[in-house]
Structures are given as structure tokens and as C-alpha cells.
């Protein structure tokens, strides 16, 4: 925030230019232009149906899975357009990884869940994998709870633990950008606090984009906040500015709880 180095000196990681997204004839996003910086947590807030999740899924091309999806404009990752026909979405998803709203532990052991991503492209050495598992689980604040039962099924973990496992799984890929889609929506306050703690620590090494329905959470951990409404980006600014002196009356209405 204000103590951070001035915004001007930061290099943008992702530049979104005039992005429009359609599903069939329905337009979900209209003319979004936004820069996402390195080493920042950008929170996206807005009422249900405002296009937050669609926006997030556009950043790693997960929307490609629905046949009616169509986009216009550009999404540049380190200056390269990820929607260029020659761009490989599978490689993209290794650099820009996602944690979903509901914890999705894959039906395998805790250990296998974490190494799933890294082993997809060839099998690294066992010792290296062990190290990776420990490092990722520690970074997600889960290691101490599971270190004695790495080989048991991940489906037996609690919801909060599963969500941290999902985070660890993404970290094991060593991505550059982490997308989180309401990662704490189904979690208790203690699990939520642990995830938030992990995210703030991770900011040093990653670019983090967080969709959240919890304005307090956005205020607690983000550097900047973007407010979406009905498929449009209404306002983007530092967390303090958005929550104390919003420029747009619609933002003011939302953050003060008058609607949404």
C-alpha cells in the first residue's frame, strides 16, 4: 500500500486490454483494461454474477472448456498474448495456476495430489519430489498437520485442509501467477486465517489474483482491489482508497453494503 514502492516502478505481470468475453450471445465481460503487477495481491470484488470468476478463468484459459466461449481484446502475460492461436493453453496453466472455490482434492493420496502437477511433464527424481512436497505443504501451512500421513487419501482431510492442499498442489508447480476463486467461501474462520497468512507470505514470490465475496478479507490482505459490476470494471485502486474514499458512487454503495 502506501509503504510499498511507488506503483510506477513496478512491472506489470499481466496486461489486460479491452477484454470482452461472450458465452454464445451473452456478453459476460465488457471492455476490461487492467494491469496486474508482480508481487502483489489483487482482489476482485463485486456482487454475484458480475463476471469476477469469468475474468479469473480467462487468465488461464479455463473458459476454453465451454464450447460457446469467445473473447475479444488481449491478455498479455509478460508481453505475450495468451489468446494467440499458437499459444499452448496447457503450458499456460502451469505458469498461471488456479485454486477453486470448493476444495477439489483429487481422489489419490496427499502426496500424489501435491506431485500430480510436477510429474505430468516427465517424472523428476523421488528425492526432489519429497523435497518439493515438504516445501509446498509448508508454504501452504499444512505440513505439520499431515506430515505423518502423506500416503493416506486426500479425501479424508477436512475442508480447510483440502483447500490448503489445493494451494500446496498449485505451489508445487512453481507457477508465476496464482489465481484463487473465493478460496475461503466454505471455510471456518481459523482455516481462512491460515490461508490468508499463507497468501501474504507468498506474495514475495508470486503474483496473486484473488476473487472474494468477503470485503473484509479483501481489505485485510490485498494491495489493490478491483470492483466489478455487471461485467464491467468500475474502479481499481489501492485497498485503502477503495474502502475509504471510492471514486465511483457504485463502488461506494457496494463497499458500504447498500447493495450486493
Amino acid at each position: 500500500m502506501s509503504a510499498e514502492p511507488a506503483e510506477g516502478t513496478k512491472v506489470p505481470k499481466i496486461c489486460i486490454r479491452n477484454l470482452k468475453v461472450f458465452f454464445g450471445n451473452v456478453q459476460s465481460l465488457n471492455n476490461i483494461t487492467l494491469d496486474i503487477m508482480r508481487q502483489e495481491i489483487l482482489s476482485i470484488i463485486g456482487p454475484a454474477g458480475s463476471g469476477k470468476t469469468t475474468f479469473l478463468r480467462t487468465l488461464n484459459r479455463l473458459n476454453d472448456l465451454s464450447p460457446s466461449f469467445r473473447s475479444e481484446g488481449q491478455v498479455l502475460l509478460d508481453g505475450e498474448d495468451i489468446y494467440h492461436p499458437s499459444y499452448d493453453p496447457v503450458a499456460l496453466r502451469k505458469r498461471v495456476s488456479m485454486v477453486f472455490a470448493l476444495p477439489v482434492a483429487l481422489p489419490m493420496s496427499i502426496y500424489d495430489n501435491v506431485v500430480y502437477g510436477p510429474t505430468l511433464s516427465g517424472a523428476p527424481k523421488k528425492a526432489k519430489l519429497d523435497e518439493l512436497v515438504e516445501k509446498s505443504l509448508k508454504a501452504a501451512f499444512l505440513w505439520d498437520e499431515v506430515k505423518d500421513r502423506l500416503k493416506t487419501s486426500a479425501l479424508r482431510l477436512s475442508g480447510g485442509q483440502q483447500q490448503r492442499l489445493c494451494l500446496a498442489r498449485v505451489l508445487a508447480l512453481e507457477p508465476e501467477v496464482i489465481l484463487l476463486d473465493e478460496p475461503c467461501s466454505g471455510l471456518d474462520p481459523i482455516s481462512t486465517a491460515k490461508i490468508e497468512e499463507a497468501l501474504v507470505a507468498l506474495k514475495q514470490d508470486y503474483t496473486i489474483v484473488l476473487v472474494t465475496n468477503n470485503s473484509k478479507q479483501a481489505a485485510r490482505i490485498s494491495d489493490r482491489v478491483a470492483f466489478f459490476l455487471m461485467g464491467e470494471l468500475v474502479e481499481c485502486g489501492s485497498a485503502i482508497q477503495i474502502f475509504t474514499v471510492p471514486k465511483d458512487t457504485r463502488t461506494a454503495d457496494f463497499v458500504t453494503g447498500r447493495f450486493g
Binding site: V90, F100, L102, V104, L106, Y116, L120, R169, L173
Partner: protein, 284 residues
């Protein structure tokens, strides 16, 4: 008055529902009553593992037929299992919805073709092809396996498809979001999650293959001997009963019922195992 008719309807429906169970029970009892004493009298090991079947000389060993059933069933699984599972994966994951609307009913139609028609195709087309291009008499383990493999396809495919469809889409997304390709996702996550359902489909297909009679009689050749290769003629347990029941009397007739007991037990075991593994899946 209305209270009374309610009660009547209740009991009538209950009777009808229970009669299905009752007929299963009666069939089981009847076969056991006719066949089981014979097995005890002959000695279970002699009956199961002696390889001479000469009813005229009072030799009743069903081992060649047991081996025959195992060969043919195993062959049917080798043909129909991978084909059915791969087909199901293709249909569930890679087929556009429009094409799916055509392909699925066609597969279900496959189940409705009478088995004698399959047998007919085997005799008229498949057996001559095998005789000409591969060798042997044509009517063989290979022919029976191929025909049965096709016959179990609808069973294997439709149950596998249900299993694949019931894998939560979130697993797929989760895997793709970690940079997996579609095939890696299929292979490492979806198949793993649908494992028990797919296993059940194969076991039910196996039950169908063991129990099939008409098509097998027509294409397997029915010689009572242990086959040395897939090109040899073979007789299955079901064929043995169907071929000889018409003229069997006395101990011969009892021996055929005893063959039925063995068949009955094998199929019951397979079905129970399939049901158990389907239940395992639901628990997860």
C-alpha cells in the same frame, strides 16, 4: 370402504413385487435339489476336475467344459473389455453432443439383437474367415470370443459411461488447471475415480458372457475336449446343458442339473462382486 380397498391394493402390489423374488428362490431351490445330491454322490472334485464326459458310460467330469467356459469368457473380455471402456471414454469425453445422440441408442440397440442372430453371423461370416485366413476348423474359441466380445459391448459401455459421467466435473477442472492435458486428466484422474464402476461393468459383462448359450453353441464347435489353442473347438457349461437336456434321462439328467448348479454359483458370485464394487463407489 376406501380404507379397505387401500389395504387390498397394498397386499396385491406386495404379492406381485415379492413374486419376482419368489421365482428366483424357486429356481435356485429346484436346481439345487436336482443337481446338488448328484455332486455329493459323485464327489465334488471328481465331478469338477475329471476330464472324461461320457454319459453313456457313466463318466461325468465337467472339467473340459469348465475350461471351455473360462477360455471363451476370458476371450470375450479381452475383446470386449478394452473396446467397451475405450468406447465409453470416447463417447463421454470426446464426442460432440449431437453425435452422442446418435451413437448411444445404436449401442443400446446392439443389446436388443437376439443372440441367435449373433450366432448366425458367427457361423456364416466369422468362422469361414478364421478357417481361411488363420486356420483350424473355424468354429473355435476365437470365433466364440469375438462374437461374445461384441455381445457384451453394450453392457460394458453403458455402465462404464454411467461411471465416467458420475465423476465430478470439478476433478477434471482441477486437473486441467494444474496444466494437465485432456488425455492426462482422463488417464490419471477420471479413470481412477471411475475405477470401481468400470470394474463392475466388466464383471457384469463377464456374467453375460458366461451365461450366453445360443450364440456360443453355434460358433464354438462344441467338442468335449480341453482346447490347446484359440483355434480349437470348445464346449462351454451352458452349451453342454442345452445340447444334451433334450434326451438326457436318469443320472445323465442329474449331471446336467449339477452343471447348472456350478454355473449358477459362478454367476451369483460374479454378480455379488459387481454389486459390491458399485456400492463401494457410492460410498466415496
Amino acid at each position: 370402504m376406501s380404507q379397505k380397498s387401500e389395504t387390498v391394493v397394498y397386499y396385491v402390489l406386495q404379492f406381485i413385487a415379492l413374486s419376482a423374488m419368489g421365482s428366483l428362490l424357486l429356481i435356485a431351490l429346484f436346481i439345487l435339489k436336482e443337481g446338488f445330491p448328484f455332486i455329493l454322490e459323485e464327489g465334488p472334485s471328481k465331478f469338477l476336475f475329471s476330464s472324461t464326459w461320457e454319459p453313456a458310460k457313466e463318466h461325468f467330469g465337467i472339467f473340459p467344459m469348465l475350461v471351455g467356459s473360462v477360455w471363451v469368457t476370458f476371450g470375450a473380455l479381452v475383446v470386449g473389455g478394452p473396446l467397451g471402456v475405450a468406447g465409453a471414454i470416447y463417447l463421454v469425453e470426446f464426442t460432440p453432443k449431437g453425435l452422442m445422440r446418435i451413437i448411444k441408442p445404436v449401442i443400446e440397440l446392439l443389446a436388443g439383437i437376439p443372440s441367435v442372430v449373433y450366432g448366425f453371423m458367427g457361423v456364416a461370416v466369422l468362422a469361414p474367415l478364421i478357417r481361411t485366413y488363420i486356420g483350424g476348423p473355424g468354429l473355435s474359441v476365437l470365433a466364440a470370443s469375438l462374437i461374445l466380445g461384441i455381445m457384451i459391448l453394450p453392457t460394458v459401455m453403458s455402465i462404464s459411461m454411467d461411471a465416467l459421467n458420475s465423476v465430478p466435473p470439478s476433478y477434471k477442472e482441477g486437473s486441467l488447471a494444474l496444466g494437465a492435458t485432456r488425455w492426462q486428466t482422463q488417464y490419471m484422474v477420471v479413470l481412477k475415480a471411475a475405477k470401481s464402476g468400470i470394474l463392475a461393468s466388466i464383471i457384469l459383462g463377464m456374467g453375460r458372457a458366461i451365461g450366453e448359450t445360443m450364440a456360443v453353441i453355434m460358433v464354438a464347435g462344441n467338442a468335449v475336449k480341453i482346447p490347446n489353442s484359440v483355434l480349437d473347438s470348445v464346449r462351454t457349461l451352458t452349451a453342454n446343458i442345452a445340447l444334451e437336456m433334450g434326451y438326457a434321462t436318469g443320472r445323465h439328467r442329474q449331471a446336467l442339473f449339477a452343471t447348472g448348479v456350478v454355473l449358477f454359483l459362478v454367476i451369483m458370485m460374479l454378480n455379488s462382486f459387481a454389486m459390491w464394487s458399485l456400492k463401494e463407489r457410492r460410498k466415496k
